[in-house]
């Protein structure tokens, strides 16, 4: 086995790691230089109205970055979930931002202005503090995505390290393409839960090979 190369301080600082970037930086990294334009950014203060009531500190953009710009010259929309805020869990506001942006992209496509869409998924699923509102938001996101993917490709990216779980794993599986790193994880629920829901013929939770590959 070869020895790992030790990086000097300058080399260490010069590294470019997508996984180490926060959601906004990831969107900026994907879009062509100076084409980045953020919609409903933090200064719009579209925060969750539910977190403060439950003693949880909110984030000014509710952990969801909506960015328009170009990828290699092609009009693009990036929806980036901030995995560090509440484990990237989807609430009423962040969910509505995703669904509304997908609906606008659909409108554009129907008018003959296709905008390709990239979802940067780092999420534990529904935000428990917003319960049904988060679930409803995911239903809206999924129906918007199904309508949109007939017109333009919707690319899901799970870079890690949060991964993509719960209801949002269904969103990931609806994407036209899904890109994952080796360290990324995608999962709906525990094996026993899926077996209970779908039956042992569909999913045998004791089948180690099936589950752990």
């Amino acid at each position: 086995m070869s020895q790992p190369t030790l990086l000097g301080p300058q080399q260490f600082l010069a590294r470019k790691s997508f996984v180490e970037l926060n959601a906004r930086e990831r969107a900026q990294a994907l879009l062509d230089e100076s084409s980045y334009r953020e919609l409903l950014g933090p200064f719009e203060r579209l925060e969750s109205p539910w977190l403060l009531l439950q003693g949880v500190v909110p984030q000014a953009d509710d952990g969801l970055i909506v960015a328009r710009g170009k990828i290699s010259g092609t009009d693009s929309l990036i929806l980036a979930i901030e995995g560090q805020f509440q484990g990237g869990a989807i609430g009423e506001v962040s969910g509505a931002k995703i669904a509304a942006a997908l609906d606008l992209a659909l409108e554009d496509a129907e008018k003959g202005h296709p905008v390709q869409v990239v979802l940067l998924l780092e999420t534990g699923g529904v935000r428990l503090q917003e319960a049904n509102l988060g679930l409803e938001a995911i239903a809206e996101i999924n129906s918007s995505l199904i309508a949109l993917r007939q017109h333009v490709p919707v690319v899901g990216v799970i870079a890690g390290m949060v991964g993509c779980f719960g209801g949002m794993s269904i969103t990931a599986s609806l994407c036209s393409y899904l890109i994952m790193t080796r360290e990324a994880r995608l999962g709906l629920n525990g094996p026993e839960v899926i077996e209970e829901q779908s039956g042992i013929e569909e999913f045998d939770s004791k089948d180690r090979q099936l589950i752990w590959g």
Partner: protein, 97 residues
């Protein structure tokens, strides 16, 4: 969770608003905007209770170095005083770029 508010006399104008950080474990987000008057206004929402005195000291130190007439909003998720000071510096650097 606790809310804190501080005010300082200030004179230097802010060039542009700036946003830095994330409300993630051990981190905070800072929203810095030009203030409507000759004062600096700091509003803090922090997940950790009972550290009002420490926040006061961090802010006193910051405004002893800078006299920016800024409205600063902080959403903190358990950042250390060092991390808070660095994020504030970063916000100032961005706003004056």
């Amino acid at each position: 969770m606790e809310r804190l508010h501080f005010e300082y006399a200030a004179s230097q104008p802010i060039k542009q608003r700036a946003h830095v950080g994330v409300v993630g474990s051990g981190d905070l987000e800072v929203l810095l905007e030009p203030s409507p008057d000759q004062k600096a206004h700091v509003t803090i929402i922090t997940s950790v209770d009972g550290f009002g005195k420490t926040w006061q000291l961090v802010m006193d130190r910051f405004f002893s170095r800078y006299q920016y007439a800024a409205s600063i909003e902080i959403h903190d998720f358990g950042a250390t005083p060092g991390a808070v000071a660095l994020r504030l510096e970063q916000a100032v650097e961005r706003s004056q770029a």
